[in-house]
């Protein structure tokens, strides 16, 4: 069979930062992929020498859609250095803000950034559901697009009530939070969350959260789909029907290894259940077999990234971020570094949280089909089902215990080092911080997109979505929307463009930008 390799250009915008992906296509199937971040912002370098608390102001500005998550990682690192445990009310308020940010990100990404491609005329006008997709997802006009913009905006008001504004507040400080809303405002937050929840159940799920949570297998999912028109017509139902028709359950496998740092530290006195001290468990999974997570196993490799080269991959407490732009030479092709766990490439994000948390539906999906685009995106779309109820519980507890402490005074930050490791909307986020004489001496950030969108490592092993692209069938090389779906299922925090090279020619690959 004659191999075909042609140059193509794939729409991968609608993310934060700039990304360029080069692929080779042989016989209609992607055979090689390089993912390159094309923007260097150098936040880590800006941090050195600044005041000890400045990470609380600077790092939320790394990303406009996950600004609270950076704030959370930054403050947890400082809590550790200061040796302080925030009071229960601070835990509740911090968690609530982080959960609101995650929920709004999940629905916005799903509808405005992923499913909007279903309305792409060039790609899908032959798909039997295309007309309906257009009615739902047409940018700034489709029914679901309009609803999501309006409903997510209302939910965001909770973050503004707690933290003053969104994005880019700094209401989390070592020892707690800067204020607690008045009782009437807490009650208002509860109404906002409950209202959002009823919209989410009606429009996104088409059923109650309880009904959704009763789904424990792929068989259950099929039965749920057949159970009522409300299920089939909901965004989840439509997504599943469209995805199966488009074959999204058959592509985008990736490394089949998963990572979660765990998330949402539990207040000491709370009705919300969790694993150990957090609501969501940390873990490392190979397929659906979950192992204990050890932070010391994280390294960053820069063998293919545009940074001054070290001899071996190092832990982020030892890592440096010195840009080294050499033009188009050699093997360096990205501003994204290559983080690895136990030397392995891993996937992080909602699907990883589902697997590590032992969600039976998603474990069954992976055991049957392996990881895939549909499972990964469905995990994101339904993640709020696990968050909305605890949010209401914590708001109720805040109303009841409003008089309790929300801050323990931390007047100075002692010398030391600490890590803030949490789950952002897109997956595992870590800040590694060292403080000396009330100044920052070291700041390294590993974002979820670095895990998912890394370049190759010193062993030549592809990053997670580079790997997931391999084997993807591309029907029309002039509009390779399938490759876009694969990368976008990881919710890249980058603006992307996919290019294809002639086999064997690596010229023309270059520069990628990365929102860091």
């Amino acid at each position: 069979m004659v191999k075909i390799a042609k140059g193509i250009n794939i729409p991968l915008n609608r993310a934060e930062g700039d990304l360029q992906i080069n692929v080779e296509i042989e016989g209609g199937v992607i055979s090689e992929a390089w993912s390159a971040g094309t923007m260097f912002r150098g936040f880590e370098g800006m941090m050195r020498g600044r005041g000890a608390l400045d990470g609380l102001v600077m790092t939320p500005r790394v990303c406009g859609i996950c600004s609270i998550t950076h704030l959370t990682a930054a403050v947890e690192a400082l809590d550790t250095i200061a040796g302080v445990t925030p009071p229960d009310n601070a835990r509740r308020l911090r968690n609530l803000a982080l959960m609101v940010e995650t929920v709004q990100s999940d629905v916005r990404h799903a509808i405005l950034m992923f499913m909007v491609d279903f309305a792409n005329r060039e790609a899908y006008d032959k798909h039997p559901l295309w007309n309906e997709a257009l009615v739902r997802y047409q940018p700034l006009a489709g029914r679901a697009a309009v609803e999501v913009i309006r409903e997510s905006k209302r939910l965001i008001q909770v973050m503004a009530i707690i933290g003053g504004q969104w994005p880019h507040t700094s209401f989390m400080v070592p020892g707690g939070v800067t204020s607690i809303p008045e009782v009437s405002k807490l009650l208002q937050c509860r109404i906002i969350v409950e209202r959002f929840c009823s919209w989410y159940e009606r429009s996104i799920l088409g059923c109650s959260i309880e009904r959704w949570q009763a789904i424990g297998s792929v068989g259950d999912l099929d039965a749920w789909l057949d159970e009522s028109p409300a299920h089939r017509d909901s965004e989840v139902g439509f997504f599943i029907r469209f995805s199966r028709e488009a074959g999204l359950h058959t592509c985008g496998r990736g490394p089949n290894r998963f990572l979660s740092y765990g998330n949402l530290p539990l207040p000491l006195d709370t009705a919300v259940q969790g694993t150990g001290s957090r609501m969501l468990a940390a873990g490392y999974a190979v397929s659906t077999t979950v192992h204990h997570f050890e932070a010391a196993q994280i390294t960053e490799d820069v063998s293919h990234s545009w940074y001054e080269q070290g001899s071996v991959p190092v832990h982020p407490f030892a890592g440096k971020t010195k840009p080294y732009a050499s033009g188009q030479s050699g093997q360096l092709y990205s501003w994204v570094k290559a983080p690895r766990y136990c030397g392995e490439v891993v996937e992080t994000g909602p699907l990883a949280e589902m697997v590590i948390g032992g969600n039976p539906l998603f474990c069954d999906m992976i055991e049957k089909d392996g990881p895939n685009v549909m499972a990964r995106q469905l995990a994101r779309l339904v993640r709020p089902t696990g968050l909305l109820a605890p949010m209401s519980v914590w708001l109720g507890e805040l109303v009841d215990k409003r008089g309790d402490a929300f801050y323990r005074s931390v007047l100075t930050i002692p010398d030391g080092q600490g890590a803030g490791m949490i789950q952002a909307a897109r997956g595992a986020l870590g800040h590694w911080v060292k403080i000396q004489d009330e100044k920052i001496t070291h700041y390294q950030i590993i974002t979820p997109t670095a895990w998912n969108g890394s370049p190759r490592d010193e062993n030549g092993v592809r990053g997670a979505w580079e790997e997931a692209l391999i084997g993807t069938k591309v029907k029309d090389i002039n509009n390779p929307v399938e490759a876009g779906h694969v990368v976008r299922s990881f919710d890249p925090c980058l603006v992307c463009a996919v290019h294809c090279l002639k086999k064997g020619r690596e010229t023309g690959i270059v520069k990628l930008g990365f929102a860091q």
Binding site: N9, I10, P11, N13, R14, D18, T38, M39, F40, R41, G42, G45, M46, L53, D54, M58, R61, G64, I65, S67, N120, V135, P139, L140, A141, G142, R143, V146, E147, R150, S152, K153, Q157, M159, A160, I161, I162, G164, Q165, W166, H168, S170, F171, V173, G175, V177, T178, S179, I180, W199, A325, G327, Q328, W335, N478, N479, V495, A497, V510, K511
Partner: protein, 357 residues
């Protein structure tokens, strides 16, 4: 001659089922626009075109803009008859279509009424712009070619206005017409857009949603906004962030805080820049709800050309308890006497503040 007019939609009621989506109508409008362009009747169009360009930034201004209310983003664009040619987070046009669009704008075949730039122009390393590229070319080239075609150029946020994050670093982050307080920037001090206006700087990190919406309204309706010396519209940048702060009474009587979690003024010790910088944060509330100072977070001065400042946040550099930087236009000697007397006159209920924020 055919005149194109987009219908103003009623707000879609989302409480009970979803009626008409407007998407077919949008198609009709866009098709009609294309037809009009094909017939060379561009001057007749009522529709304004806008292009949103992403530079070196975090996307925060886009997410701020999505919090606009009355009207929201969708209602705003429809009401103003703005056709958003492309937004990096919201559009789904293919790269090929996007490339063609860019070529048409640069060649003058597609009119561009409003160019919005979010994020700085990354010029590093050493002026090459290679820290931020598109298809191997510096993205800054695109900023220049679009700005030269636009009727109005709007810098959305502090990074686009003044360079912001990275203006002192290797990435050489540059504002459209300023680097910090220095006029010039990427487009040069003499740049004016086709309408004759310089770049309109919507400072803020992020820029307040009401400011972005308001500036769009002005641009769409052909209203030239009066600008301050840093080209920020006086409409939103003539009063300080301090105006409307709920801690004003504490400030007035110099009831100060030196730790988090209290109700008093954050200016004297906690690094609050509210009295130092202009902005609408306490006049038009964020996300229709609050502001940082109301939630106990000091203002970080993000509308200032020198944001982020070099000195540590959460600290006020001061001499004997009086801040080095005094509120806009204040005489130091007078201020010290006034604050001394004010502190002595502070009412008991402020001094004994018991309830926490």
């Amino acid at each position: 001659m055919k005149k194109i007019k987009n219908n103003v939609d009623a707000e879609v009621d989302i409480s009970d089922g979803i009626p008409d989506t407007g998407c077919e109508r949008n198609f009709r409008v866009i098709d009609a626009l294309r037809e009009s362009l094909g017939n060379g009747k561009m001057e007749e169009k009522a529709l304004k075109t806008a292009y949103w360009l992403q530079g070196g930034g975090c996307g925060g201004d886009t997410f701020s803009f999505l919090s606009s209310e009355s009207p929201d983003v969708i209602g705003l664009l429809r009401t103003l008859d703005i056709h958003l040619l492309r937004h990096p987070s919201l559009s789904n046009i293919s790269p090929a279509t996007h490339e063609a669009l860019l070529e048409d704008i640069v060649a003058g075949r597609q009119e561009l009424d409003i160019l919005l730039v979010e994020g700085s122009v990354i010029c590093g390393p050493a002026g090459t712009g290679m820290f931020h590229t598109v298809d191997g070319h510096p993205k800054k080239e695109r900023v220049y070619s679009l700005a030269s075609q636009a009727q109005v150029v709007i810098a959305v946020g502090t990074c686009a206005s003044f360079g912001g994050f990275g203006s002192d670093d290797a990435i050489e982050a540059t504002g459209l017409q300023f680097v910090k307080k220095q006029r010039g920037g990427f487009l040069g001090k003499d740049f004016t857009s086709k309408s004759g206006q310089p770049v309109i700087n919507l400072a803020g990190c992020p820029c307040h949603h009401d400011v972005i919406a308001g500036a769009l309204m002005a641009a769409a309706k052909g209203v030239n906004l009066e600008l301050d010396k840093f080209q920020r519209p006086l409409e939103w940048y003539a009063t300080t962030v301090h105006q409307g702060c709920t801690r004003n009474e504490y400030h007035e009587y110099r009831v100060e805080e030196s730790d988090f979690g209290e109700m008093g003024c954050l200016f004297f010790h906690m690094g609050c820049a509210g009295p130092l910088v202009p902005g609408p944060c306490n006049k038009s509330l964020w996300n229709q709800q609050s502001s940082k100072t109301r939630a106990g977070v000091p203002c970080f001065g993000c509308t200032d050309p020198e944001f982020p400042r070099a000195t540590p946040f959460f600290q006020t550099p001061n001499i004997e308890g009086i801040p080095l930087s005094l509120p806009m236009g204040v005489n130091r000697a007078h201020y010290m006497v006034y604050k001394g007397m004010a502190a002595a006159a502070a009412p008991e209920h402020l001094k004994n503040r018991k309830s926490k924020v």
